[in-house]
Subunit: 526 residues, 2 copies
Amino acid sequence: MINWKNLDELASYGELQKTERVNLAEVMSGESGAQRVKTCSIPMAEGLSYNYAAKAVDGKVIDALVKLADEAQLTEKYKALYNGEVINTGEKRLVLHQLTRGQLGDTVVADGVDKRAFYVEQQKRIADFANKVHAGEITNEKGERFTTAVQIGIGGSDLGPRAMYIALENWAKKTGNFKMEAKFISNVDPDDAAAVLASTDVAHAIFILVSKSGTTLETLTNQSFVMDALKKQGLDPAKHMIAVTSETSPLAKSKDYLDAFYMDDYIGGRYSSTSAVGGAVLSLAFGPEVFADFLEGAAAEDKLATEEDPRKNAAMLDALIGVYERNVLGLPATAVLPYSQALSRFPAHLQQLDMESNGKSVNRFGEPVSYVTGPIIFGEPGTNGQHSFYQLLHQGKTIIPLQFVGFRNSQIGTDVEIQGSTSQQKLCANVAAQIVAFACGKKDENRNKNFEGGRPSSIIIGDQLNPKTLGALLAHFENKVMFQGFLWNVNSFDQEGVQLGKVLAKRVLAHDTEGALSVYSDLLNI
Amino acid sequence: MINWKNLDELASYGELQKTERVNLAEVMSGESGAQRVKTCSIPMAEGLSYNYAAKAVDGKVIDALVKLADEAQLTEKYKALYNGEVINTGEKRLVLHQLTRGQLGDTVVADGVDKRAFYVEQQKRIADFANKVHAGEITNEKGERFTTAVQIGIGGSDLGPRAMYIALENWAKKTGNFKMEAKFISNVDPDDAAAVLASTDVAHAIFILVSKSGTTLETLTNQSFVMDALKKQGLDPAKHMIAVTSETSPLAKSKDYLDAFYMDDYIGGRYSSTSAVGGAVLSLAFGPEVFADFLEGAAAEDKLATEEDPRKNAAMLDALIGVYERNVLGLPATAVLPYSQALSRFPAHLQQLDMESNGKSVNRFGEPVSYVTGPIIFGEPGTNGQHSFYQLLHQGKTIIPLQFVGFRNSQIGTDVEIQGSTSQQKLCANVAAQIVAFACGKKDENRNKNFEGGRPSSIIIGDQLNPKTLGALLAHFENKVMFQGFLWNVNSFDQEGVQLGKVLAKRVLAHDTEGALSVYSDLLNI
């Protein structure tokens, strides 16, 4: 029997608040620090590990977090989710993104079908389609091969797939898995579509229109933009376009598309990279096998997240420590800092995943909560960030928890040795150095050169960023966000906060405005 | 006589704290809201305007801010800065980035030279060089024209120039000002340089090595990476590379470069887009006239920032309201939200500009301050962000002030009309709608669909993003950050917080580690 209780109704949360604060600079110094780094580590899937040595926690805090996980029934709630309960209470929907990559529990039947079978069927249909494109069996009207895939989508139909594409592009080129370039059109700013089209050989491009509802303003507008460009070149848009949508959308089974692949209402946009939303573009770009490996990594990580003991469950412990930092220590943000240029857009994806899921003020029953919920998420790849906003992270007045990611090996493998070390070694040396600098600081009599330390971080370490580790990494954060939503007792799977702006924008375009909105419209010449 | 006092030593700050809070949702509703939007506007340079109607301020708060500006001597401090006083107290340096684009006050002599004349000379030398490259007078060894410029730099030598290049690329292509593509290598991750080089015709590429000190680890490493690639193709690196550095750096007057252009210690990296750091790459990409226009826009905005009355000085009022939000209302972050795909990396540049400048815990004399300083800065272009993190902005527990930017016209001009409006109109309608949605909210009995409102924003509105308006926009934010630094009494022009990580990274590479650092090094196989 699951109890959906607010965080501050849990006795263990009260106990957590009473635990003694940990002096991070102290415990991370000397031999104690070395021991922490060795022991505060949880194996993840695909050889990754989550190391939380540099978090401001000790045995007592961890014990309290374990109790909290138990009282908040995190494992039971996850189980309810993957077994098909209506976890998205706002929209009264199941939450099934894990099912796109594996069957963790019971058969889930919805709308009269086995949903796992449905997702697998779509993956097979996409794989067949992509294989035919790669084999030159599906071509443009002249019988010429498609050379570029262009995704038209916004939000979850853009950020996740784009981040995953960038993450694997160089790996695919290096390993012979690169099939075709992918590009992305998202913004309703006409300069976005115009610039992408200007640099694209549209006669050999296949466009992927992605909209679950089939009604997203930006995406339909950009579809028209693309159709115009195709027609101007004497091309038939219907021969250059596929759709990824829900079976009930106006885009489904339309003659305007070469083919259509389906997702459903149980996959939120920000959780859709492992559904057909990511599947079509990634399978076209890298081949279906690469996409299958990506799903395999995610599935393996999902499985590990079923572990009841947070000490052995990286996503769950990450979530718990995050709540401790947000609600007990009162810290407003988390910086995501991957030491991998290939993950350059991964922070932007996590920004949506986390802030759209848990940026809420009411619990899952629509009642206001009296504690803070999701933090601000931002980040850039290292070492670049070191030469940018790290100044504030090191010496600013507000402590910001940090989430590092690092890999022992690069993707391309080309490197150069300068001053006795390779670039890859310099990259890894920097992330190691930063963790310790943030945690321990360094006293200096010149207060301007003094580092207080005590700035917590964790790191996920792997051998290399590849489809499997990327899948595991993605699932880790999805599951972390899910567990945090359970702890805060919010619905992490709706986004009512995006509606009001849509309504008002429509009124502006219909010239049905008054007051401030009317004057802003005038100022912007609408 | 200037008094450098901490914010909390100012009587007017005490008065500001006592002002009554403004109910933003209320004042922005109905006719009162319309009046605010009409009147709360300050003209900026190049036809831009700063509209602060949707900020939670009223006449009393503004009066208190005016007093604060006066007591904090913002205008006098700015004057001292551009007249060449040692404003960067930590490093004992002048702060002269405004002088790269105009002479606001006295002749500034340092190191025995007229610094304005020095910066102008470098601009002329760059213009001559770029013109010769474009005319085919400076070529590769085979006498073939260079077709790509590749900037090698990190931090301020990357983020600003890269953001400016992206901001003007489509405008330049549309207006016939596009001379050559620019690319950027920044990260020490070897996959960054390898991927850029793999997509570049290096035989026809000119590389711009940018490092003020000539000692930046990442940049020198990437230089070697590039030199390797050139040599492997049988090319002479010295015929493909120019340097932008200080005259005292090891890179100056070296035979390893075709030519070298100079900046100096009085231009901080994050303030260097208008110096040779931005000048070389932007002049090569778009021609010296475009770069000159960019400087002209910045100079015009710098001039407006000399206005003593904050009610007529956009940068100063923006700074003052920001301090009110940060220190009196206690808000931790600011989101930068340009409704322009061309400004996609502008928030990343502002993130460095702001967080590296004012992310400090000590005042300019090295004494700890007891109030919060620089906020977290993050952002993505709209409308993309609306489908991502705006959920938290609208309905999250933490209020985050917003900085919108919008233009009436697109850069490329290609557009499509759907449902009675163009994409550009939809873009503008969305930004207008968001401002009102954030400010006014909307009551709903379903608490999950309820919007509290009261979320403050400002907007900078212009006709079009072009070199002049971009220059004005950049200068606005540089001056805002400068004024905020004066208010917080911090040194906005050093960055001691980046040093400790560098020192520890060197120790890792030298295998001179112990404790936690040693174990992290092992885990990362260094």
